[in-house]
């Protein structure tokens, strides 16, 4: 199946005075992607999003939306929450969404109610925006952003300020938008566990540079978790695991095997291996997360820089 490119960022750089906020960044979003932009505060995530939405003038590089050079017309098909969600404080939830509908030329009043329901603000429909909690304001921002049924949704740190249940609901909402409405999403956050749960691809930004792109599948392969066995005879141990447990495993090196499961009784496994004449040096749980990957990646970049210097 041919994949359709929704967003293409090509060799984009941005300077603020002498400070290089974005340095030759390129990446693409295919239809259906949930692309997680990962980076620390000040890494350049917001600047990239501001460049895409033209809130920041683009001077170096090109950005294409729907395979055409970006312009205001193309932004009609984009919904965005950049930095903080914006709404008119003195207007109610319904009035704010209605305002966005008029602005986008949408006359369907039923859709306004549906969107408010969809983001879970139906009980706050007549509440003024100034009286909403931060989480509710995020939802209102999302309602305004998704109202025009955009092809691309750009969300800058959307889970900031949400309580744990709000985060879970927001995550469900994003997955629902992606799966039910086929909306491609570009999302940034410094809460990596959350990004991991929703994203299908990741881009790591460090000091304005996109240092790594990886799909979730590849990340999971690199970042494998499970039981790590250290033994004296790897080939024999592998044979026993294959016969007795039928679990997926990887021979890491001459002494280590990683079983991709935590659902194995480790003492039973230990007993089996010893009975078959394999010396077990250790059995440890190996859990790796997006955080670990990120830390290693950033550590690697820093090491490379220090070697270069």
């Amino acid at each position: 199946m041919m994949t359709k490119t929704i967003l293409s960022v090509n060799n984009v750089s941005k300077k603020f005075g002498k400070y290089k906020a974005i340095d030759n960044v390129s990446f693409k979003l295919q239809k259906g992607d949930i692309y997680g932009l990962i980076g620390s505060n000040g890494a350049g995530k917001t600047t990239i999003m501001r460049l895409i939405t033209q809130l920041s003038p683009l001077k170096v590089g090109t950005i294409e939306l729907f395979e055409q050079k970006i312009d205001q017309q193309a932004l009609k098909h984009v919904g965005a929450i950049i930095e903080t969600p914006a709404s008119f404080n003195k207007l109610t939830v319904k009035q704010n969404v209605t305002l966005a509908a008029i602005q986008r030329g949408i006359n369907d009043k039923q859709r306004i109610i549906q969107i408010i329901d969809f983001v879970g603000l139906d009980k706050k429909i007549n509440t003024k925006a100034e009286h909403l909690s931060l989480g509710q304001k995020q939802r209102l921002g999302l309602a305004i952003a998704i109202l025009p049924e955009p092809d691309l949704l750009i969300l800058d740190e959307p889970i900031n300020g949400l309580d744990p249940s709000g985060i879970i609901e927001f995550r469900k909402l994003l997955l629902k938008l992606n799966q039910e409405k086929q909306i491609t999403i570009l999302i940034s956050s410094h809460i990596l566990t959350e990004l991991y749960q929703v994203s299908t691809r990741f881009g790591f930004i460090y000091n304005g540079q996109l240092i790594k792109e990886i799909t979730k599948q590849d990340l999971d392969n690199v970042n494998q978790s499970g039981l790590l066995l250290t033994v004296d005879n790897v080939s024999k141990a592998a044979q026993i695991i294959d016969e007795k447990y039928q679990n997926k495993f990887t021979i890491v090196d001459d002494n280590n095997i990683l079983i991709h499961s935590f659902n194995i009784n480790s003492s039973e496994l230990n007993k089996q291996l010893i009975m078959e004449g394999v010396s077990v040096i250790s059995i440890t749980k190996q859990e790796k997360s997006l955080e670990d990957y990120y830390t290693n990646l950033i550590g690697g970049v820093n090491d490379a820089k220090s070697i270069k210097n």
Partner: protein, 256 residues
């Protein structure tokens, strides 16, 4: 898109208490002028009325002239229109939603200016019609034909709204350059005062062309000869054009 933006601003303004308060004060101000037979406003005295050959008991025509002389205060009242129409977009950062809706920067600036102009015009019209209605209720004579009175009311409203809008157009430019609603609002307050003070101190003759409010009153009351009328109009139009052009250039190159 521009029409959608005008509709959006109309929807928002019609749900803003600030607009209704401004309207109420405008009406009250007009009633006070007519009922008390007094002129108000900035640097306007009762002597100004004498120069217009007014009667001791005002006719509706005198009331219209008095309202015109007193209309300098309207500019201060109408700051609310400026703040609600475009100021809030920047103070509440909702321009982010507006500018990602598909509208061009050109359409954004022009639609904001047009919405301000339209509001000023409607409010000014209400101000003059209140003066006429107040005069009728207090039993004043018309002082001229009804047809002429209504035509003059419309003309005065157009002229005053246009010239006030030039100052607001410059205020839009200042808002975009400084991102400060306070600075741009202060500009609207001090601009006529600075022009008057400069007029008294340096007496540059060309200052009269940018003394928009005095020009509006003089044109309305036909105190400017026809031969000079178009000089005022052209200068104002050129300033408006340059202001809008610079506003568009700034917003296109601004980190929003």
């Amino acid at each position: 898109m521009m029409l959608n933006q005008l509709r959006t601003d109309f929807y928002r303004l019609s749900r803003s208490w600030g607009i209704y308060i401004t309207l109420a004060v405008t009406i009250a101000y007009s009633i006070v002028i007519i009922v008390n037979n007094t002129v108000g406003g900035i640097m306007v005295t009762s002597d100004s009325m004498k120069s217009l050959d007014s009667n001791s008991v005002w006719t509706l025509k005198d009331g219209l002239n008095a309202s015109t002389l007193s209309s300098s205060l309207l500019m201060y009242l109408f700051i609310a229109i400026f703040v609600i129409t475009i100021g809030y977009e920047f103070s509440q950062k909702t321009y982010k939603n507006t500018l990602v809706s598909g509208i061009t920067r050109f359409q954004f600036i022009i639609s904001k200016y047009l919405m301000i102009l339209l509001n000023i015009f409607v409010m000014t019209l209400v101000y003059f019609f209140t003066a006429i209605i107040s005069g009728v209720i207090t039993g004043r004579k018309v002082g001229m034909s009804w047809g002429n009175l209504l035509t003059q009311t419309l003309n005065h409203s157009i002229v005053i709204a246009f010239f006030i809008s030039i100052v607001f157009g410059i205020a839009i430019l200042i808002l975009l350059a400084t991102s400060s609603v306070v600075i741009s609002s202060i500009f609207i307050v001090v601009f006529p005062v600075i022009i008057s003070v400069l007029n008294n101190i340096v007496q540059w003759t060309w200052l009269k062309y940018i003394d928009f409010f005095t020009a509006a009153v003089k044109i309305s009351l036909k105190l400017i000869p026809n031969s000079q009328l178009w000089n005022y109009v052209w200068v104002s139009l050129i300033i408006l054009f340059v202001t809008m052009f610079l506003s568009i250039v700034i917003i296109r190159n601004k980190e929003l």
